[in-house]
Symmetry: D2
Subunit: 373 residues, 4 copies
């Protein structure tokens, strides 16, 4: 049955490959173009010269995986089943291709899941994170919701054993937060974060660790606001019931915030965010609106002398160095964001929790939940 997956399809660039193992592995599979996934037993994938086979230790569920599970219009336009999703993980190197030199069997690793082409203008000028020919592992080819995942050597991120498994599995979204927060000056600045999903929550920790003078966390969902409180945002605001504009003004000498990290992607959040931005401030946009929205360029950007930055992915690999350094230094306490730890068999339960809005980051364990946590 599993054979129909034709997993080889997922790494078609590799002309020469070797079957490194003949055992089976568990995998969460989007097997049909409809809502849901299936848990299957599939052969462990083979690797090419430049690839690394990683035994997955912990993986975690992203909002993107919800889209894929729910089979919404974005998923229908982007995903071609069968596919193993999953792009947040950590694990141990199980095998390496014959040209791989930078890691060896047993190494503790995670990976940048955006595979950049390496040959376009962007890739050749330090902007590989916006490569136009990017392929994403877990979206365009088989991902980490499995016992094993294949990663090109160039994308492997070797980890210090000082980084706990839990944190190592969420470097992808933490990297989004770090990239967004550190895309401009943050030290001694006032910072508003609109939207407190996992990335917004991580951004609270990053902003605090990097010297933000005040962090305003703005979120309509009470469950998320409670986590924002645990993350120690200075002020947690609910735009549904509070006059956020007036409160921010009162706390910033009437100026507004120096920095806006937009992580909601909702038009009301974007609108509010620009309203509370001070003249001369910086906006970093990460949240992805589902459709075009209206902006008053004159008031919001031009007369304000604002700087607006579009943020995508993680800088390769500056962001990875940054987050590893912050984690190793013990500067980030991310535990409040991790609200669930489940075995693979409970994947659908994780999805339900996320769909209910009563969860933030949920970890999955292919080999059972680690009792150490």
């Amino acid at each position: 049955m599993a054979q129909e997956f034709g997993l080889g399809r997922c790494i078609p660039a590799l002309s020469e490959r070797q079957v490194v193992m003949s055992k089976l592995m568990p995998a969460i599979v989007k097997s049909e173009p409809k809502a849901g996934v299936e848990l299957r037993e599939l052969p462990i994938p083979s690797i090419g010269h430049h690839d690394v086979l990683v035994k997955v230790k912990v993986t975690s569920i992203c909002g993107t995986d919800l889209h894929i599970y729910n089979w919404d219009p974005w998923a229908q336009g982007r995903i071609t089943p069968p596919l193993i999703p999953g792009h947040e993980f950590c694990g141990y190197v199980a095998a390496i291709g014959n040209e791989v030199t930078s890691v060896k069997e047993g190494d503790f690793v995670s990976a940048e899941m955006h595979i950049a082409c390496g040959k376009c203008l962007q890739c050749r000028t330090g902007q590989a994170h916006i490569c136009q020919h990017v392929k994403i592992i877990g979206i365009d080819r088989d991902g980490a919701f499995a016992g094993y995942v294949v990663i090109p050597e160039s994308n492997i991120w070797q980890l210090d054993s000082a980084i706990p498994h839990e944190y190592a599995s969420i470097l992808d979204p933490l990297g989004n937060a770090v990239h967004t927060a550190l895309s401009g000056d943050l030290a001694a600045k006032t910072v508003a974060i609109t939207g407190c999903g996992p990335i917004g929550l991580f951004a609270i920790a990053v902003a605090r660790a990097c010297g933000a003078a005040q962090v305003f966390a703005i979120e309509v969902n009470e469950y998320r606001r409670n986590i924002a409180r645990q993350m120690q945002a200075d002020l947690i605001l609910d735009p549904a019931t509070q006059d956020v504009r007036a409160i921010v003004r009162d706390h910033t000498n009437g100026y507004g915030v120096d920095v806006l990290l937009e992580m909601a992607g909702h038009k009301d959040a974007v609108r509010l965010g620009f309203d509370i931005l001070r003249t001369g401030g910086r906006v970093s946009l990460l949240g992805i609106p589902s459709r075009p929205l209206e902006l008053d360029l004159a008031r919001d950007i031009i007369f304000k002398g604002a700087t607006v930055l579009g943020i995508n992915g993680r800088k390769m690999f500056e962001t990875w160095f940054q987050m590893t350094a912050l984690l190793k230094a013990g500067k980030l306490d991310l535990h409040p964001v991790i609200t669930g730890r489940l075995p693979f068999s409970d994947f659908s339960k994780g999805i339900e929790l996320l769909n209910s809005g009563k969860a933030s980051k949920i970890l999955l364990y292919p080999d059972g939940v680690d009792s150490a946590f």
Copy 2:
């Protein structure tokens, strides 16, 4: 009659002032809250301790002056008659206040017409050009469409005699172009300019002088496109009849332009501008849309990793140093933009020409058109 102007009103911050002269001067006056202006004889204004009285040699008409003349909704909301408009000029120092030390009678000068408060966060951190308490000479108090104009010493810009009168009178809009163009890297980049009013046309010259690899001038008005050609844009494109997106793509290896200087303020121009911007590009927005417009933040900014900068006025005084240096070095030929030279008595003729779309920058001479040109 002129007395009703109560010119003292225009510089109310100065508690002690002296009448330096008792003669009269010609002035173009917005005397009533309706369309049109009047040419009058008014007393030469008195100055305070920190002021400089400048005898106007050449002044020029800005699009803003058109709004004031036509008494459109913006003017109705911002202007309080009676007012002498005019904020582009050069002239010679006629008198100085008793605390003025940096210029003396007879000096050749122009001025930054945005009077920043000097005390707000923006003013105290190098962003005086976006001071929130700015007062603009020629808008909020009497301006340069007169024989004489009063300028605070802090705003005077002393000129080298090597700068011709004509160029000295248009430093305000040239400064807009320089500020916009040099708000990011330009050297060896491809640059699109949407909108070829005087500032857009100046920007062609600035971009060429500062190493732009290709300059695309995009404009629907044929008269303006013809001037863009004289300014030596590499490609002059008419979005009404040409497939600008395809042409730009063909000339940029399929990537789009590195830099967009948006100077039209029209939603179609903004839309087109973002469409032709390459992934990772820079947008500097100067043109002011008259109302909010729709943007696809996901496609235009976020996935594109774009940098969008709001541009207002001129940096005080970095922009002034830059444009003076470029002019003195002979790097900018701006003559094609100057399409008219008129005496004050022909002011309405200048307005007619501008309203017809068959003019670009028109110079006015209080003492008669200089025969030297």
Copy 3:
């Protein structure tokens, strides 16, 4: 006797001045061109239109004051007695000139003691901190080692009552530390600080607060190393007894530090600093070597692709906003650096302590040591 001070000399630019008070004040005076100072009773100085008279609450002793006291070659070349030194202080506004609008009697203030000319290229392009015509209060004119000090309105820094007196009196050297540390990226970086005088010690706090991943404090003086430990540097190293190069290498994956903050001004520290800087790193130089020194530009800067920044004073007034924000947010614990609190009458005792190397920052109280601390 005190009359011979001719204090009016110290603020000669003010042509019109008023005697605001006729009372006397205590002042520490460098009265003769030789070592030592005298404590005297002098008339409270008068102020000009744009001046603010501040009643000094707390002032503190800088290394520069040691040079003046000891009358070393630098002091002999720069200082013209009689002079009241002192350029670190806080206090309350006692009187204001008739054109002063931004503060009022009773306000809690400190001040930027570098008076920039406001008219040179540097001043007009956001670099007033390196104005070439700078006059320094406490060096070029009478300073804060007195009951009252005269400050131009432009240089006054208004303080929130949340800032404790002790911190308010040391904003000048704290500003040096903030300017140096934040002259480039710091977040998630490894940082070495060579020299742990008060500014180096403050820099430890600033680097930690702004996200430095590791802070290496390097200092030969044991007393200072002990304070560096209290400031929670990650590693405190003694170059006289430890192999700093090897230790830093071991703690930075063999690369060296990302950032060097050089605050010793000693050739051995500079040499060591460049040696432990990683390829592509940033050096901010604040410590002032007393004479030229040898650098291997090829190895230290060119092949290393290093960025070397000269740091002087505090950015006006960006640095002031930054440090106020960090202090208000409670991000900086500076108490270990404050090692003495003395009344004016014990000034010489403070100098002795500093000359002995057994003190760091010493506060002086004109009206007696505040019992609140």
Copy 4:
């Protein structure tokens, strides 16, 4: 005899290689550890999977090649004969390895000759030009003074046929000039270039093309000053006979230059360069001093608030995009710098000319001088 070269040694990383051709090629060879080179017939080298074999059309002599020829102390410490030197060239693709996808036989190419490791911190954060494990083709392995040269695909730079052969062969040193000049703002700035070897001369063209307001070329050698004049520097100065400090001051309103591009590497030039730099200016150091030199850090960098940048190689591949764009736009006339065109057989004559100081950039043609020039 040629067999002893064991050319396979030069590309040892390639485990699998194929002999693509069995013909011989001419090669200029450093065969012994002593002064001089030999012209030989050697087998065309074989290539690995990721390599490109390029038939050399034009190559040119760098100062580094002089060191190798003259067998000076640097060469003795760095070069291991036998070696084919040469790292400036252009040519046509003759064969490609079986994993090469971005170029094909017949393509017109040049190459970045610094092979970065791709795995260190610097390489993974956009600073591959300062990779600490760099290997340089023509220094660490066989280079371009031959009929054919082997280049890893990652280092190939594909050229537009609009770029003339002559310019295509000197992209390496032109890239040094572009990297140095554009390592900071240049537009509307005054620029001094100390040292007018080929790179300094190229920098004149780049600075002019990118908007420098004034370019001061400073050089003791008359032959070079004459070329600087042809490159249209605004002022050409001889420090041996002219008071450069005074002249620069006079031409910069007493401030000194905004930007110093140091390309001499001689202590007197460095000294002079810092002396004429304005407070707040930028220094980009490219010239490599042969030994440590004395700097007055206090005066030259710290009080001056200077920014000093170490420049090495070319940014991969931002510099390559920049110079290609400038060349294609016709912004750079480099012909005055090319002072000789020789066949391979006249290599020693080229060296003699360079040693005499009566030459600048000399081109070599393996197949005879192209009559087209």
